[in-house]
Point group: D2
Chain length 362, copies 4
């Protein structure tokens, strides 16, 4: 175990009345979701899993999250102790102690894990890397919290689908119907990934239309949406270029659309010309300036001066922090599955206030 | 004058019966257009201009293009001689010898130059960096060659507009009407430019809808088009993500659209899955493999497996070589203005065959 | 004033016994230094300056740092009130209230400011963008704290010089003499900068040897060092590739060099092979993981498995977080100038512990 | 077979008196070496190999290079015919017809291939991806042509080693001895590669000192050299930052060093300040301007104003076109092995003149 510098060290107090949450997969998303859950007074982290002793375990240890092995094989569990990490057992041991498991394992491991979760009798939440068909149920706080109440399990949709829901659902509710074309300009690798490219190219997703947009329909089927996607050489934030067609008689204006979004949780509206925030680089700098852990931005960023409604056509850009916008949604999804909060806005406010307080930003 | 290695050295023979062409501005576009003009048997390069003696002059000298000064001030002209470059005089001297001038100066110098060209009584061609309002006439070979016949002057539209015309005009002619949304993912700097960024960001063009798409209407007003644009950290090729709505009863299929484009000059259709050409990086490598000078690709590149028509909606991607797709269009525009070739397809074939032969690719 | 989300909101209590510090220039470095100073119990932020009302003022306001105008012109000061920001006056007003001013204005403004500071009778600290000749005195905590005691003013050296001092000074002190060649591979732009390039190129600094390495001699003249520098298309961290020649009879081994650095404040030694931290991307992810504000890394990062001593030659790599390694050095420099702490290590420990506590990382 | 646009179509005339050359592996290096060999009047391309029918075969077909299968299995050979490509047989068939095989297969396949070549009784040339230990003999035109005369086989060293030899060998010969430290700033992926990263990071080669520099000693053991290496997010050219220590009494000046290199074949000296060639981006643009196929630059590029000799220390930068500087060296190596030209400079001049003429640049 490497002994370095200061880590965040929240003192976690497990109370009997809180929801017991396990995180299966303590990586890019898992480490963020764990902190967001730990911040809530109605939830407790029971444990997080790693496949093997590795540098990533140190973070869990320092934060006080009990460490478990992703597998049940005794030799694999023993390996943790051999490397000097206390390990609470295998995945089965972890599942036996929790109410709900949030699966943050790498994409496509879902189907196999699902059987395990069902066998253990716990509720489960997958991430957007899994298919809707695997879970039969998907979740976004603003789109279908009510439908997910007391469900056996669900899938928190991808960062892109979450971002689209945040701006499209209120539009749909205001207008009654919506037809959308979205072009997704995607960051090709995460900031901590030095292996993936391209260095100097644009890569189209040749399966057209792409699967990204229509995934919105898993949480709000009334939105008629298709999409195209390209990957570009940047590590920070996806960009959505959106053209929405509003129904005749929509009664909206550019300004009323902006007001709708200003009232929407987890959406930030800022003016690029006035603030100098002209690209995803400055958006991320803004998130760092306001003290967000990891420099995360849970909110969707919409440029005020990049929104225009003419007749029935609405154009806008939004930037999506691919590593973090789904993090608070997982917390809300826990409450939906456990049936402890019926009102999505109440859950969202509680989630976000607790995260801010946890990070000293209240 | 730096004396290095081998330069291309075409032996230019000026004949009395050929169209006398001047290039005002021998830079990224100008150097390419000069070669394309020099390749034609019905045209002769009378001279090219530089603002001052500089390394860029060497290329003109080695290629045998007479060098002139962009300005008429004797001291500025003398500076060329002082630096060891033969200079034929100022811009007025050059204009007095030519039939048509192709203005490849940096954007926004147009209005001032236009007066000069008119005063000299020569025909003139501007590039897409100038506004349509400046020239009152615009040009793309496949869109409006006939309208430009014998005109006083014109503007060859930008690389993006040229690219859009190549695929949209035949669609329009096949279907009768067309509604288009295009998202332009633009390379942020040219390959030889080491100053401009961003290094790691996506920059939206906040003026929405952007000016890029509607520029198509300057050459073909019947195409109903809007666009959004972002800049990304790459130096090679723009990408267009296009959603076109065909009119009811269009009678087209994905395959018939592809066939339409296969017959269209200056469009290449290739299958990404079969060829391994999955991004703009491999497209540019392909251009280098087939021996194109500067690694240029005059054609628009469309991925066969990225085209899909469902009901009335057509999705496709196309890649645009920003430095070169307009180059042969300038040659065709010369013939239009001089009234020497009425049929755009005849001109295009002549232009392209001559360029290929000039570069040893025939 | 844009009203968004949660900002860090430390409650600052000004006490009469603390050192009164002004920050002239609240930008990339200034905003970080302000927080580091605010974290100390022996210092108080009297105010920070901005040239004009702008989005950057919001951060100062939210953090509770009194805002002043960089200039004294009444109209420029009034502009802040007009934009809705409380402004405490001009630079002269600010200087009249402080003991020491930390100049974090853009490079090369130093000489003019220096006169102003001297006239106001306050102590002053410049950053590494200014020349040593301007200040006549330079500072790095580990190199020359004692020399700076009670000085009128000083210059905290650049991020690169600071980084070199951290690893070279202890080596020098252990070996008696040192000859160094350093190649600096520099990030070309900061993460929040979307204007600068290059996107796809390596740019050599053609002035050879470069000024970077020899700047170390302004704080420790005994180190015989030269350097070469290139800029590369990345926004995160400089990299130093260092070859040091130790004197005969040095008595060191690879392991003893590593131990020397393990005991050195503000140096982190980690093993790339064991931790998977194989590039500057993973180093920055590590800083984010351990909860550092802005994802900063005040420490120099040295790869344990990238250090090798053979005979008299020592090779190693170190990564430098260009935006932040000098931040705590400014705090130590305040104590040196004010003569309140003679021992550099005591100051460093106090500075770093206070910053950690301030950020909830203690 | 995709039928597109114009390919280079040299008419190859096989004459009985020429050296019969096979290219095993027709990829990034192979396709370039094939053209360079085809350009020579004393050599003929007997055939090139591909592992399977693929888009890459088209280029060989269009250029008129007979196509063979990398393997001997009849089913693999038949696959070419099935895909519509004429295939001359397997590798054994190819080897039976040639005098010398140039192995351009991906790195590390060498040992297995070597046995095959020896069994076939042909001479062989490997590339720098293979180890010197595999071949026991290495080659660079300017370093050890004579030693390679009539050898059974050899290895043309890597692009980096070739580049170092070009500038260091003449220095060594002028000074008698040489001690060198080189930091290699390496492009992380080739231009046609859209898979590899990093996008935004610098990656050190933690094995220090690196293997790159010392590889020079396989062709010129007298050069005492070590190196460090990092990979950076660019696709065009490696950069070498070099510090050479000349022996006492060397008698050289900055200007005499430059003159030495000006007389050295395949080295270009240009002044960055005068030409505006300030980075690898402009160097590559220069190569495109002078009409080089694929935009290649066989020469090493040294910045005149980035060279400085002070006392015994020489600093300089050089840029290496990783895809092409070894190409003409392979041609010279063929002559060395076949014993047809004893004088390396005569071979180099013949090689380069033939390549220039072949590409219409004479």
């Amino acid at each position: 175990m490497v002994d370095v510098v200061q880590f965040i060290g929240p003192v976690l107090t497990s109370e009997s009345m809180t929801i017991k949450v396990a995180i299966n997969g303590y990586g890019t998303i898992g480490k963020r979701v764990a902190d967001a859950v730990a911040a809530q007074d109605d939830m407790t982290i029971i444990g997080v899993t790693k496949t093997r002793p590795s540098f990533g375990c140190d973070l869990a240890v320092r934060k006080g999250y009990p460490l478990f092995c992703t597998f049940d094989e005794p030799s694999k569990i023993q390996a943790f102790a051999d490397a000097g990490y206390a390990c609470g057992g295998g995945i089965t041991d972890l599942l036996s102690q929790c109410d709900v498991v949030i699966d943050c394992s790498p994409g496509k491991a879902g189907a196999a894990n699902l059987e395990r979760y069902k066998a253990a009798g716990v509720k489960w939440i997958f991430q957007g890397g899994e298919k809707h068909a695997t879970t039969g149920m998907s979740y976004t706080s603003c789109a279908n919290h009510t439908e997910n109440l007391n469900a056996e399990g669900t899938r928190v949709v991808s960062c892109n689908t979450t971002g689209l829901s945040r701006t499209l659902v209120p539009l749909l509710e205001a207008c009654g119907s919506l037809k959308v074309e979205c072009t997704m300009i995607r960051r090709a690798a995460d900031p901590g990934d030095s292996k993936k490219g391209p260095i100097n190219a644009i890569t189209p997703v040749l399966k057209v239309p792409s699967h990204h947009g229509p995934d919105v329909m898993t949480v709000r089927p009334e939105i008629d949406i298709t999409s195209l996607a390209v990957a570009v050489p940047t590590t920070i934030m996806h960009m959505h270029a959106i053209v929405a067609t509003l129904p005749d008689g929509h009664g909206m204006t550019t300004e009323s659309v902006l007001n709708l979004w200003r009232q929407q949780p987890r959406v930030i509206i800022m003016n690029g010309g006035e603030t100098g925030i002209t690209s995803t680089a400055e958006v991320m700098e803004f998130a760092r300036d306001i003290g967000r852990t990891w420099g995360d931005l849970h909110e969707i960023f919409v440029w005020e001066d990049g929104v225009k409604l003419e007749d029935n056509t609405l154009w806008y850009f939004q930037a999506i922090h691919q590593e973090s916008d789904v993090v608070p949604e997982n917390v809300d999804a826990v409450r939906a599955l456990m049936g402890t909060e019926d009102d999505w806005k109440v859950s969202v406010n509680k989630t976000d206030a607790a995260i801010a307080a946890f990070n000293g930003l209240a």
